[in-house]
């Protein structure tokens, strides 16, 4: 395994995607790290920031299949997983796969579907397989769900329960691009850029390569001190006074995996505290349930993670 080679490939993917998705380099990096860590990503941001474009561009650059589901209140589980239909031609029932049978899935506005439908998707995300009519069908490998939700509108939404949120490896908050990036977007538009037409993007990776990256994570060395650091951070979220429900052991595992993936991103064969710290917010923010009065006072999960990181002692520090 050549980690440097894989790291360079990841960087090439980022560069290629950034050709069309301007000013969101950090988002691209986080999504790719999530993909390598075999996790799913929940993206929270207002419409119009290029979330769909990101997934489409990723599909194109990675050479992966891409599907999109627009979640609505009347969406049914079978609309996601697929259903068994009777074929008059064949004279038998046959399974028609739903959009979940893809490699990259964009679940747009996931909080607009009722809990039953959400659960169907989330179960598929966790098990990486779909069971219908007693038959379990595995999903593609790799399988990455990018779910989005709008933080502004709350009318007619079905917020994801905390237990379901835990199934997302990362929760990313997308902000507006900088002025320079926005100017570049306009310049691209003036020059004739069409978001629906991405044929000019080059495929710089492949399904096999992504799978190899995912498998190579196991070879990234993790020192005992790093494991202690991760558990210390997660434990502190449970003891935090503003948090009623802290991060779960699944969060610890997720944080460790993400740290490994980030080490791979950096071309390193080992994890350092920076890998953990730089992804702590993304891994933990959606897993913390705050005290009601803390919420009333405007304290957010990010504030709590900040506080935890301020107190957690970095291993082998010189300070």
């Amino acid at each position: 395994m050549n980690l440097e080679h894989l790291s360079r490939e990841l960087r090439r993917i980022e560069t290629e995607v950034s050709r069309v998705l301007v000013g969101q380099e950090s988002l691209v990096e986080h999504v790719l790290v999530g993909l390598v860590a075999r996790g799913h990503v929940l993206i929270e941001g207002v419409p119009g920031l290029g979330k769909t474009l990101l997934v489409r561009a990723l599909g194109r650059v990675l050479g992966l299949s891409f599907r999109r589901i627009q979640f609505t209140p009347d969406l049914m589980p079978s609309d996601i997983t697929g259903s068994t239909l009777y074929s008059q031609k064949l004279g038998e029932f046959s399974f028609v796969p739903g959009p979940v049978f893809t490699e990259l899935l964009l679940a747009d506005e996931v909080n607009r579907a009722p809990a039953k439908t959400q659960s169907a998707l989330l179960e598929a995300m966790q098990e990486r397989s779909v069971t219908t009519d007693g038959v379990t069908r595995p999903l593609s490998e790799p399988f990455l769900v990018l779910a989005t939700q709008n933080p502004i509108e709350s009318q007619g939404t079905y917020p994801l329960p905390e237990a379901q949120l835990d199934r997302f490896l990362l929760k990313l908050e997308v902000g507006h691009p900088s002025q320079a990036a926005e100017a570049q977007i306009l310049l691209n538009y003036v020059a004739g850029f069409d978001p629906g037409e991405l044929s000019h993007l080059q495929q710089v990776s492949s399904q096999a390569s992504i799978v190899e990256m995912q498998r190579s994570l196991g070879e990234i060395h993790i020192a005992r001190e790093i494991i202690d650091y991760v558990t210390d951070i997660v434990r502190r979220t449970r003891n935090h006074p503003s948090v009623s429900l802290g991060a779960s052991p699944r969060a610890s595992i997720g944080l460790l995996n993400v740290a490994r993936a980030h080490a791979l991103w950096e071309g390193r064969e080992f994890v350092i505290p920076d890998d953990v710290k730089s992804y702590a917010h993304a891994v933990l923010r959606h897993r913390l349930q705050l005290q009601p009065d803390a919420e009333l006072e405007g304290i957010t999960a990010d504030h709590c993670v900040d506080s935890v990181l301020r107190d957690a002692i970095v291993p082998k520090t010189s300070a």
């Binding site: 060395h221 350092i272 505290p273 506080s307 957690a312 082998k316």
Partner: protein, 661 residues
Amino acid sequence: MAGAARLGLVALFALVCLPSVALADPGDAPPAWQSLPPAAGSGVEHPDEAEADEPGEESGAPLDPFKVVPPASVEGSLSRVLSGPDVSFCKAEQATGRHDPLLCSLSHLSSRQRCPGLRQACSNQPVEVGPSSSSGSLQSKLAQLGNLTFWLVLAGLVVAVGLALKRVFADAEFAPADPRKRTSPSPAEAALVARHVVETDVARLWALAEESALGARFEEAVAALQGALIHALRLSGKLHVSPAQTNGDYLRALRPEPSLHGPAREVFRAVEAVQFGGAPASRELYRQLLERVQPIVARVLSLLLLCAFGFGQSGCSKSLAGDPEAGGHGLGVLTQLLREQHTTVRRRIRALNVIEPEVSAILVVGEQPSEAWAKLLEFAAGGGMLVVSQSSEELAKATSVHYSADSYTGRLQVPPGFESNQLELSAVARHALEFGTGAVAHERTFALAEKKAYVAERSYGAGNVLYFGDDEFLANASLSVGDNAFFVVSLLRRNGQVLELVGPWTGGGSSSTFASLFKAGLGTLLAQLALLAVLFGWHGGTAFGLRKDPIAVRRRAFRDHVLALGENYRRARATRFALASYGSWLIERLRDRLSPQQPIGLIDLAGRMAGRVEQPESELVLLLSEARDAQDDFATARSSPADLSTLEKLETLTVRAGGSK
């Protein structure tokens, strides 16, 4: 390199402390009993021991004192002293003779004037600046630079402390208002923090790195090198270091400085590979890191040394620039000449209550109180030699020797009977000695000014009193003329014994501790040490305890709890239920308050409330009806945020109607 670091620290200490002490102004009265030995290795041709142990001194017989000291020895010492850096009046640039009639008179009395600068200054002629003068000028400029640096550093320190305080307060403001975030750490956390004790001193880290490398513990060595780098950057103000910060945080902070960012990144990467990646730490790696870290750490140490130089210069600047003992009227030359003739000269700070037995002679400078004269005369009567150059009532009464006013400028004569009666002595005499009647064991006159005794010795008890007509005869300018120096040294030399200078500085008490410190010349030194302590404490000190904000206990209103509860209901989509439960309770409370005697319906309740809270009755009826309806349909109706709004209005209404109690 650890040796270099230690050397740097020693140099820092030397720069800070030693100049303040060793070069302190003699006028600032050094500590009591300060005794400096003769200059070592000065190349002086001292008389040998046999010569020093002359029989006349041992027996106390009145032998010719001018036969004891070789004139060449005194001449050599005098040349050295007058050309040295500590004698300012002899330097052309610093000579102020033209404004001092005494010095100018002396400069013309003899052809053997050893201070040409003084004579030129008196004759108002242009002066050639020699190497020693330029050296003095350089020292003076250095002193000014030192003073300037000192005040700049002091001002910078004050500003830095102000900024640090501001940052502390700013941090306090930035911290989230949640007081629960600052609760005391749990015992486990406290234990973890207590275990987390790391070295933060750059020099010690550097020494640790070298020691570990010598012991082939390269993992520890590279970690110590990284620590030295981080704390060197902290000392230079580039980094804010805390246990919760990673190397990545430090690199982000160093981004604006590419010259530091690059080397630091390489060091961090290499050390992380050892610490977290299991890479072996080798001597080669240690050497590579050393090359990266060394320039940065050296730069910081240089900065500290520069600061120390500023401090040190401030301590010695006064000595370099304006030492009164180095002027024409000072006693610096006499002191040094006597020291070179094996005589220990020291200033007496302590009172004269007990005079130590090793003191064989006391030179009195200036006026003394009567109690002091009593002790001095007691000393002389006990066998010591008292040297006086000024009249005093007590002295005249005890010895019958008076100082009469005189005015004579010119050569002094050595009376017959001395082998060296051809000495060329010159003085600006203002007094002459008059001896009263009375039996004395012996009496000798060593110099005459126009046939009047000018320098004489008279026995007093078991000792002697040596009289000089004027104190100026012993001054630096006088000793630079003719054979005055040889004459005076011959009379005052105490081979291997102690001569004390008693003057205004003797027995002077201080009104306070601070005055005492400053009087002893320690004020500047202590101020420097205090500033350094503050500096080190601020940069590298270890906190005595965990800093934590006081826990602000804020009483939360019941209304807040209700709102929080409502928020929970909203998230559970059960706001209708909340309205039904809490609304009915509030309606009952309103009924109790407005109609305690008998139950009333909602219409009547709304009417009574309208009169009390001055709101339209129709609105109140709608509000109460909505709350009442929730009791019936909370199981079937869909929850909506409007329920909480209704509940809030009802609660506000209850408060305005007098509260729920």
